[in-house]
């Protein structure tokens, strides 16, 4: 829920994901990935050719050992040997070149594909409704960009080519083995069967213990994240040793889980390696007996070499398939985000700058005249006045708990409307709806007589300046942060806006003034200073309608008093929605709406409301009584 987010300072990071999750829709996801790889069709074909060629060179080059021994070394034909070795060298060089070529091309393809995935994912994220961000933690979305993209990148970079290369080498080697000696190949088949059984046996156990390990990692990481975020509270409450105890417990569980998972994973290599040697031993034994009769020493030598070679792909294939499955699972999560329902925006009415010609006629212009108009699809211009109306608006964040229950309100152009009420009464929600951050369930919200659903979202939001309670700053200079309100603003504009918000003074006291670099959480600034920057940002954007959501809650009243003039200047001629729990802030509003549990229970100006002796009076005198 929106209101809850306000006091969560730092983003939360989800537990480390990755590892052995199975994709739900293998074919569909692979298809979508293929769309991304599709633009490299020619290169991919080239890669496949290079892989096949390099595998053929490796297998074939090794085969030359047989004629080398049988036909040249044993008979002592050295000029023939020299020629043969030259051929062999040629084949090997070819093989090395081919494998370099495909690896290099794959790097290009994978890095570009992954960059495209990242770009699309980020672009997609920009179009998602706030509801989506409420439902997913930052950590979860971050891990789409980190862990998931990494596994996909890894798979395209290595696994894909390795897999083809392994299969090609495997098939080629088996073919050569059959060609050299079918009976000896049977020994290898038997060994391969045992290896496969071992791979799948260890594999399934390893997967199970990996799942346990991932869970334990998640627990440890979750604990670390939460506790580190609250580290200052831990200090204040002397909770350090309790925190260490809690950590130790989870750390130990993780150690045990990971030891068992890594043992299984680590067993794979010696098992496969030594099974291959057992195969080698049997082949050597049987092969030697056969060779006594055939005398094909070269054949035995090369066959033994193939015996060692053939098990490596088996081992690799199993590994690569796991990596690829993990990558597909990662890609699936990425595509899930990409396929999430974007913000609905069917609005056709746009916001344009206008200038007034003699006679009161408006004309669209590119120059900043300070005057705005709504441009209808048919080209008709309606001046932007800032007339906002809610008509029986019903809203709920989750579809269950109604937050606004049939709210009707109106703000006439240039009026200052204040929303007061206790925490959770629905004040922020109202401003969220004007912005169309969320879709209402029933009722209508109009803006200058136009249903806001008919206004293009970007135009709608551009017409509204918002100063939010949670003061978000971006890493960059102070000037950059203010300039976020209007990207093309000059340094003078920025400084003027800062002066208006009374931020100029403290900015000049920063080490580098306006060029001071802020870290992303603006850690070096106080909450109040950050609010001043936020106000300056909104002032710079110069919108027809302003929404101030607790914009001055962390600014002391004296400073608030100082910026009042600036604020008045900022608010002059604009429709302003003010949310404040500090009633002195809203006192001079044209209309004050008192909200409670999603309903407007009182409305009027300050004096009228005091006269009513209702909730507002209580709130207000709750303060006065103690003074």
């Amino acid at each position: 829920m929106a209101e809850h987010e306000n006091n969560v300072p730092a983003p939360r990071h989800g537990p480390n994901r990755g590892g052995y999750q199975k994709p739900k829709d293998l074919r569909g996801t692979v298809g979508k990935l293929m769309n991304y790889l599709g633009r490299y069709k020619l290169q991919l074909i080239l890669v496949a050719i290079c892989i096949l060629a390099s595998a053929a060179c490796n297998v074939g080059g090794a085969y030359l050992l047989r004629p080398l021994i049988n036909d040249y070394i044993l008979p002592g034909d050295f000029s023939g040997l020299a020629k043969m070795l030259a051929v062999m060298a040629g084949i090997f060089i070819m093989g090395a070149l081919m494998s370099f070529a495909y690896a290099r091309i794959m790097v290009h393809i994978s890095q570009n594909t992954v960059a495209a995935l990242r770009r699309d994912l980020f672009a997609k994220l920009q179009g998602l409704p706030l509801k989506y961000f409420d439902a997913h933690t930052h950590g979860e979305l971050m891990s789409r960009f980190t862990n998931d993209i990494d596994t996909v990148s890894e798979a395209i970079n290595n696994s894909f080519a390795s897999l083809i290369s392994c299969v090609a080498t495997f098939v080629g080697t088996i073919a050569m083995m059959l060609y050299i000696s079918p009976p000896l190949t049977l020994v290898t088949f038997a060994a391969l069967a045992v290896m496969l059984a071992a791979v799948s046996g260890i594999g399934s156990r390893s997967r199970r213990s990996f799942t346990a390990q991932q869970k334990a990692i998640g627990t440890v990481n979750g604990y670390i994240e939460e506790m580190t975020e609250g580290q200052k509270v831990i200090k204040v409450f002397n909770h350090e040793s309790a925190a260490i105890d809690g950590f130790r417990e989870r750390n130990e569980a993780y150690r045990q889980a990971s030891t068992s998972a890594q043992t299984f994973a680590g067993a794979m290599m010696p098992v496969m390696g030594n099974l291959s040697y057992i195969n080698y031993a049997f082949t050597c034994m049987i092969g030697a007996i056969l060779t006594i009769r055939s005398g094909d020493l070269g054949g035995l030598a090369i066959f033994l070499q193939y015996t060692r070679q053939v098990s490596q792909p088996v081992n690799q294939i199993a590994q690569q398939v796991n990596t690829i499955l993990a990558a597909v699972a990662g890609a699936e999560r990425i595509f899930e985000v990409m396929e999430a329902e974007p913000e609905v925006d069917l609005g056709k009415v746009t916001l344009v700058r206008v200038k007034y010609l003699p006679g009161g006629v408006q004309e669209e212009t590119a120059i900043d005249t300070g005057a705005w108009a709504w441009k209808q699809p048919d080209g008709a211009l309606i001046p932007v006045k800032g007339d906002v109306r809610f008509d029986h608006v019903v809203f709920s964040y989750d579809g269950k708990k109604t937050v606004l229950n049939g709210i009707s309100l109106f703000a006439k152009p240039g009026q200052k409307i204040a929303l007061v009420g206790s925490t959770g009464a629905g004040k922020t929600t109202i401003t969220n709806l004007i912005n169309r951050f969320y879709e209402i369930e029933s009722g209508v919200i109009t803006y200058d007589g136009i249903n806001i659903r008919d206004i293009e979202k970007d135009s709608l939001r551009r017409s509204l300046g918002v100063v939010l309670q949670d003061t978000h700053l971006f890493s960059g200079t102070v000037a950059d942060n203010i300039r976020y309100g209007r990207l093309d603003a000059t340094d003078e504009d920025v400084e003027a806006a800062a002066q208006l918000a009374n931020a100029d003074h403290f900015i000049r006291h920063l080490p580098q003034g306006y060029q001071t670099v802020l870290s992303s959480d603006g850690g070096s600034l106080s909450q109040g200073e950050r609010q001043l920057l936020n106000i300056a940002r909104a002032a710079l954007s110069n919108p027809p309608v302003l929404i101030l959501d607790e914009a001055t809650s962390s600014i002391d009243t004296r400073t608030e008093k100082l910026i009042e003039q600036g604020m008045d200047q900022l608010m002059a001629g604009r429709t302003v929605f003010v949310i404040a729990h500090r009633l002195s802030t809203v006192r001079n509003s044209r209309a004050i709406l008192v909200l409670e549990q999603g309903e407007i229970i009182e409305r009027g100006d300050h004096e009228e409301l005091l006269d009513q002796k209702g909730r507002y009076y209580q709130l207000y005198t709750g303060q006065a009584e103690l003074a």
């Binding site: 209101e3 006091n7 983003p11 939360r12 480390n16 050992l65 021994i69 070394i73 040997l81 060298a89 090395a96 494998s99 370099f100 790097v107 960059a115 770009r119 920009q126 706030l130 979305l141 990481n221 994240e225 609250g230 580290q231 200052k232 509270v233 200090k235 204040v236 409450f237 909770h239 990971s258 890594q262 680590g266 010696p270 098992v271 390696g273 040697y277 057992i278 080698y280 049997f282 050597c284 034994m285 049987i286 006594i292 020493l297 030598a301 959770g424 951050f437 939001r461 918002v466 939010l468 978000h472 106080s526 002391d556 009243t557 004296r558 008093k561 729990h581 500090r582 207000y620 006065a624």
Partner: protein, 578 residues
């Protein structure tokens, strides 16, 4: 760095030793197998001795089985050692973070501390484990294969004199080239992630200002930078394989040429030539492993550096000067010529020459502009920061006399940016006092007006708060934090603007309850509203790092211009409203 990290293998050194031995033995037994093979070819086949062949064959199988046993041993021991080392390291690092003072914590961002504790350590433990399995194996393989090859034929082994230096040179060139590229890659990745993270936290701002395309541009720029750097880095890595292949294949050809001549001349047996050939392949494989490990290592060196930074960070505040037995007896507070700044090199003092005396049991209101030093002033009392000059005393003794534990047990702070933890409300409140009885919990809840919404919570005190306390609103969270602080039954209670999200009526109620329930406790209240502190025994007006004025509401109204200003700005409405 190795030296610094090696102590954390404690308790697992035996497994490291066993693992290394197993890896080595596995490799050695595997390498002996081709020797037996050479015997079979040169003796068995040459003499057509089937019995000999079978005997030797069974020997080979036996050796492979022994190697298998050692291999499994290496898997078991290396995972124990690696994961155990990781657990030790993680715990040591976490314990270190617990000893950090506020200024240490601020030196690292939360996100970076989390990375250093999680993925950096994970990468270290994997490095040790894989290192034990491969890094041991590779040199053993290399040396043993070389030795055996030399044993097979000394003259033929001369090819290695060319091949191995060539490989070494190549690997070191690659290392030198690739290392920095991966460091840049890491930086670019971090900067890309920063954009995403800020975008996620600031998504409302982005949407409000319709800056989606600006954000996309920002992202695209870093995305392209990352892409081109990673293409460069990985492009360099892929040179590795083919070059190694070329060197090894060159060696094979040389061996076939010289070895072939030797076989013909009868100075070498065919089986030995084949075995020699096998050893070359083994050497190739172990070299590939070495280069792979080096790649992995160059990444984990960066991780190790980051971990060491945490381990090396010196806690800014320690109990060194604490006197045993010192306990906070009373809640009086004294500031004697206290000056403080956050950045020791900074030019301006945040607090300058503060002198104060606050008697025990007083309620003190602190008022002042943004950045006037209110929060800083109170944070010196529980020694969250240490003053650069002057003395802060509590209960008549300098704060450094007490251990932090005793001091902070007696001084309870409700921070401005407060945190609740996942778990039930009860568990969170018990942070204040692990042994709190049901009545104590209830009365703290009453005092902090938690009871008002507690009854509406599905499971009362046992309601689960979710991570970071997401299941309560801002105002409710603040009230819970106050209740948690009250439960400590502190000598001094500090509320640092802790009711900013609480409505005025509730705020007033909480203050009344505090006055009634915590009579002996010194209460320091930082507030924006004059109404919150007007009834205080003493009011401090802070201005630009100084105490501009102190006194009661009445006296300040007479003497202090700033105070009158603030008061008027907040009270005008009441006069109009009458």
């Amino acid at each position: 760095m190795l030296k610094k990290l090696s102590p954390y293998t404690r308790g697992y050194r035996k497994w490291i030793a066993l693992g290394v031995v197993c890896s080595a033995m596995d490799a050695i037994f595997q390498l002996l197998i081709p020797l037996v093979m050479a015997d079979i070819v040169d003796v068995g086949i040459a003499n057509a001795d089937t019995n000999f062949i079978v005997r030797k064959g069974v020997l080979m199988v036996g050796m492979a089985l022994v190697a298998l046993a050692f291999g499994l041993g290496s898997a078991v021991f290396s995972s124990r050692a690696g994961m155990g080392f990781g657990a030790n390291l993680r715990e040591a690092e976490y314990a270190r973070v617990q000893s950090f003072s506020f200024s240490n914590i601020e030196n690292f961002s939360t996100a970076s501390l989390v990375t250093r504790l999680t993925s950096d350590v994970n990468s270290m433990q994997m490095t040790l484990m894989m290192g034990m399995r491969l890094l041991v194996r590779a040199p053993v393989m290399l040396i043993a294969a070389l030795a055996l090859a030399i044993g097979l034929s000394r003259p033929l082994s001369r090819v290695f004199l060319v091949a191995i230096p060539l490989l070494m040179v190549f690997i070191s060139i690659l290392m030198v080239k690739v290392g920095p590229l991966f460091r840049i890659l890491q930086e670019k990745t971090d900067s890309l992630n920063l954009v995403v993270q800020e975008n996620l936290t600031g998504i409302r701002v982005v949407k409000s200002f319709v800056r989606e395309s600006h954000e996309k541009d920002k992202f695209a720029e870093r995305n392209n930078g990352l892409r081109s750097t990673s293409e460069k880095a990985f492009g360099a890595v892929v040179v590795n394989m083919p070059v190694m292949m070329l060197i090894v294949y060159g060696t094979i050809i040389a061996v076939m040429w010289f070895g072939g001549k030797m076989v013909y001349a009868g100075t070498m047996a065919v089986g030995n030539l084949t075995a020699f050939f096998t050893y070359i392949m083994e050497i190739l494989i172990s070299l590939m492993m070495v280069s792979m490990i080096f790649m992995m290592m160059s990444r984990s060196i960066a991780c190790a550096k980051r971990i060491c930074e945490v381990l090396d960070e010196v806690p800014a505040i320690t109990d060194d000067r604490a006197q045993s037995g010192a306990r906070v007896e009373a809640g009086s507070i004294d500031f004697d010529h206290v000056s403080f700044k956050y950045n020791t090199n900074g030019a301006e003092w945040v607090l300058e020459n503060i002198n104060l005396h606050i008697p025990a049991g007083f309620t003190v209101g602190i008022l002042g502009g943004t950045g006037s030093g209110k929060s800083t002033l109170v944070s010196l009392i529980p020694r969250l920061y240490e003053a650069q000059s002057g003395t802060v005393s509590v209960g008549g003794r300098p704060v450094a006399d007490y251990t932090m534990e005793h001091l902070r047990d007696a001084v309870s702070v409700v921070l401005q940016n407060n945190t609740l933890f996942s778990g039930t409300i009860r568990e969170n409140l018990r942070w204040g006092n692990p042994k709190a009885t049901e009545e104590q919990l209830q009365s703290a809840c009453r005092a902090a007006c938690v009871d008002e919404f507690l009854s509406r919570m599905p499971d009362g005190l046992d309601t689960d708060l979710g991570q970071g306390g997401v299941n309560v609103s801002g105002g409710q969270k603040q009230r819970l934090c106050i209740a948690r602080a009250i439960l400590k039954q502190p000598k001094i209670l500090i509320l640092d603007d802790s009711t900013s999200a609480v409505d005025t009526a509730t705020d007033a109620k909480i203050r009344q309850a505090l006055r009634k329930d915590l009579t002996g406790t010194t209460k320091l209240v930082i507030a924006q509203r004059v109404s919150s502190i007007a009834d205080a025994d003493l009011i401090l007006v802070m201005d630009q790092g100084h105490v501009a004025a102190q006194g009661t509401h009445k006296s300040l109204m007479k003497t202090c211009e700033i105070y009158r200003d603030v008061y008027r700005s907040q009270q005008e409405g009441v006069n109009i409203g009458g």
